[in-house]
């Protein structure tokens, strides 16, 4: 007779058969075999089984559960037994999650981030600060809950064991990834951040400030990088307003200085008004400038206060000074914007928003002024000359606009390369690549491909083919597949590889749909800025309590992959950088994955897309698990990381030209986003001809998005920016060595950019 039971924590409690009956009832119910009497009969059988096995000893929980399983099977309730086993496995998972959660929180609390790899998972969060740690504890808790309660068992297993990686898993139940914020639409009529209403801005300074606030606000509604697709077009409106204001102001001042009077504002106003009414426009930088100025001068002459010659000179001077002032204001606004995005925080104050801005194609004088000044501000860097980390600058390259010498924005394209050679930004998105060009409609900037975050691209729209635009859309979520793992399991059997790949893609597609279900059943009030302010496409038609399901379908569900190079090596012995034969095999695999996404999109009328995974937070994890499982396999698991998406491995010697030729074709297949990098040393990067030849090679080779990497070092003590080996070329110190204040003072005479330190001089 069993009297007591040993619980998991060691406590001994009275044996209670009714609890076993209840558990069996649940399993029978789940199997559709509900029968109370039968439940009692099976429970009694389980108890007898325990008595036989344990004798006088109190049984442990696991032994009781084993007995229940056996009893269910012995009595022919196979379906119910299966349900019971699943239930048990799930409980185990939750229990283990709890234990590991406590261990994780312990590590976050007690281990220095320099030692803890986990705490450096997201390099944008400082794991050594209070708010950073708080965020990491929240992340750990959310991950444990999501794995235990929201994933299907097979998904949880695949994620835990590294078959797949569900990105931004901590936000699984909370929100979507990212959005291209159309600031023109957002600013018209003003907007609310959720904490206060902001009127429509009236100067370039406030346009830039509000653009930063828009990014910050949206970052609090979504977990991915936030982006502005039309930075030049949007900011140009602010420049227009600023110029119109300065034009009248300068005109007033110069009239006053000419006549030695005060209060000529009325005269200036009425003269400008006359021109305004005739031409039906504000004073503009360029548009109808000569006619406008002439009309203003005429009106001034008609007032009887100025003769014709003087009036003309007054107006010309006013225009020149208004231009200069507007240009200065624009530079300051852009400088403020860059500073803001590197210092303002979101998410419990623990990280700066991941931000991107796209520009380069606005050919109006105002748009050009914006592009030039944002580039100059990036070039100048932050307060001590530091390279700005945010925003990511993306220069849109387009033939006929900025790519060729005769194009109106060619000068800005050139300037962008000078800046990129120094600061690593801008990156380049190529609108002429066929898969981007197919959407391009001249004069409609929303049809220009823009990117956000590390590479996200949202353009095609199976859900609504009339809206194939970049504005107001984004990715909903993405999950990446450990491609080398599948190759290793296939053991050089190509057919088996494709079979396993298809199974894995099905699993991921289902998981993305499950996650969509959670995201789609949220209401507008769950996304107060993104949906509440109409940032997301069509959300302006919804009320605060409406479900966001339908409008969310404008977004993408993306399947990513990592390690094509290692996959090819595992399957065939070498990778696509090494032979054209392997290039063909690589393209076959990636085409296969793209076809799967296209088919899913058609079937479900949703946007499934294929992502060349950036590997953020994933770099190293898959490889670590696979090394344990398969051992060290040369060219596959013999490094600490798998190669980024379809890239040629970073360690493989190859020329820039060949690398671009090899990677280009994959860009057309990875419609959820891609990027190719070329590595240059510091000297080559500073050779602008070499730099430009790489960018042009990308443009001509079907690359959709690319950038050039080169080392950018800085000595915070003497302010030197450039390549630093062991010794700083400016001040001669080694990392961590000190300088005397005398030496600093001497350096400062030669280099004004040497920072000033308080307390020592």
């Amino acid at each position: 007779m069993i009297q007591s039971v040993i619980k998991r924590d060691g406590r001994i409690v009275a044996y209670d058969q009714s609890k076993i009956v209840a558990a069996i009832m649940k399993s029978l119910e789940a199997a559709g075999e509900e029968d109370a009497a039968e439940a009692t009969r099976v429970a009694t059988r389980a108890t007898r089984h325990l008595e036989m096995n344990c004798g006088e000893h109190a049984p442990e929980i696991e032994q009781i559960q084993d007995a229940v399983e056996t009893a269910l099977m012995d009595t022919g309730h196979d379906a119910a037994a299966k349900q019971y086993i699943l239930y048990r496995a799930n409980r185990t998972r939750i229990r283990e999650a709890n234990t590991s959660l406590m261990k994780t929180i312990d590590e976050i609390t007690n281990v220095d981030a320099r030692i803890s790899d986990m705490k450096r998972d997201n390099a944008n969060i400082d794991g050594n600060t209070a708010m950073g740690s708080m965020l990491q504890i929240g992340t750990a808790g959310a991950k444990a809950y999501n794995a235990a309660y929201l994933l299907r068992p097979e998904q949880a297993k695949a994620h835990a064991e590294g078959d797949i990686h569900i990105h931004d898993f901590d936000f699984y139940s909370l929100t979507t990834t990212c959005c291209q914020i159309d600031i023109i639409r957002l600013f018209h009529g003003g907007f609310s951040t959720g904490h206060g209403f902001l009127r429509e801005p009236n100067s370039i300074g406030s346009y830039a400030a509000l653009a930063a606030i828009a990014i910050q606000s949206n970052q609090n509604d979504q977990h991915g990088g936030q982006s502005i697709p039309n930075f030049d077009y949007g900011m140009a409106e602010g420049v227009r307003k600023t110029f119109a204001r300065h034009y009248i102001k300068k005109l007033t001042e110069i009239i006053e200085d000419t006549l030695f009077t005060e209060n000529e504002a009325e005269l200036a106003d009425s003269a400008v008004n006359a021109a305004r009414q005739q031409l039906d426009q504000e004073p503009r930088l360029d548009t109808n400038a000569a006619e406008f100025d002439q009309l203003v001068a005429q009106a001034l002459v008609q007032s009887g206060k100025l003769d014709s010659e003087t009036a003309k000179r007054v107006v010309a001077t006013a225009r020149r000074r208004a231009y200069q002032q507007t240009d200065r204001d624009t530079y300051q606004a852009m400088e403020g914007f860059v500073h803001n995005l590197n210092t303002m925080h979101s998410r419990a104050g623990a990280q700066t928003p991941f931000s991107s801005i796209n520009y380069g194609t606005d050919t109006t004088p105002e748009g050009r002024m914006v592009i030039r000044n944002i580039l100059l501000a990036e070039d100048a860097g932050l307060g001590h000359g530091e390279t700005p980390i945010f925003p990511i600058h993306i220069f849109k390259v387009k033939e006929g606009i900025n790519y060729n010498e005769q194009d109106p924005n060619y000068d800005l394209f050139k300037l962008s390369m000078k800046v990129s050679a120094k600061r690593l930004f801008p990156n380049y998105v190529f609108l002429d690549a066929p898969f981007n060009l197919q959407y391009y409609v001249p004069g409609r900037p929303e049809t220009e491909v823009a990117t956000m975050g590390c590479r996200t691209r949202v353009m095609g729209n199976t859900y609504d083919p009339t809206r194939q635009i970049s504005y107001s859309r984004g990715n909903l979520s993405f999950t990446s597949i450990n491609l080398p793992r599948i190759a290793l399991l296939a053991q050089k059997d190509e057919a088996l590889f494709y079979k396993k790949l298809d199974e894995m893609m099905e699993l991921v597609a289902q998981q993305l749909l499950d996650r969509f279900e959670i995201q789609a059943s949220k209401r507008v009030y769950n996304y107060p800025f993104l949906m509440g302010q109409g940032v997301w496409l069509d959300s302006d038609n919804l009320g605060p309590a409406d479900e966001v399901r339908e409008v969310l379908k404008h977004g993408t569900l993306s399947i990513g992959f990592i390690g094509l190079a290692e996959t090819l090596t595992a399957l065939y012995g070498h990778h696509h950088g090494e032979s054209d034969e392997m290039q063909a095999k690589g393209l076959e695999i990636v085409s296969h994955m793209r076809a799967f996404c296209d088919k899913k999109s058609e079937e479900l009328k949703m946007n499934f897309s294929l992502l060349a995974t950036p590997a953020e937070g994933l770099s190293g994890r898959f490889t670590r698990i696979d090394q344990k499982r398969f051992g060290t396999i040369p060219g596959v698991t013999d490094r600490e990381y798998y190669t980024n998406s379809f890239h040629i491995p970073v360690w493989y010697p190859i020329t820039a030209y060949d690398k671009i030729q090899k990677e280009g074709p994959y860009h057309s297949l990875t419609n959820a986003g891609h990027i190719s990098y070329v590595e240059l040393d510091g000297d080559t990067a500073n050779n602008l001809e070499a730099f430009e030849s790489v960018v042009r090679c990308m443009h001509d080779s079907g690359v959709g998005y690319g950038s050039i990497n080169h080392p950018v070092d800085r000595d915070p003590v003497c302010g030197y920016v450039g390549v630093i080996g062991d010794v700083c070329p400016r001040c001669g110190r080694r990392s961590g060595e000190a300088l005397s204040p005398e030496k600093l003072a001497e350096l400062r005479k030669k280099y004004p950019s040497v920072p000033t330190f308080c307390g020592c001089e």
């Binding site: 390099a123 590390c454 190293g620 490094r639 360690w651």
Partner: protein
């Protein structure tokens, strides 16, 4: 005010900043990178 203590020398224990791009983002200093990212950066070869 820049946070620099009163001292007779400047820059002791102040490391060089090394800005690199990895997984699409720039990172202010590689101190905050995880180990695999550091290894990837170390292995890179130049292409020109």
């Amino acid at each position: 005010m820049a946070a620099m203590q009163k001292q007779s020398v400047v820059g002791k224990d102040v490391p060089f900043e090394r800005i690199r791009r990895i997984t699409g983002y720039l990172v202010g200093t590689m101190d905050k990178w995880n180990d695999a990212k550091k290894a990837e950066e170390r292995d890179r070869v130049k292409h020109l």
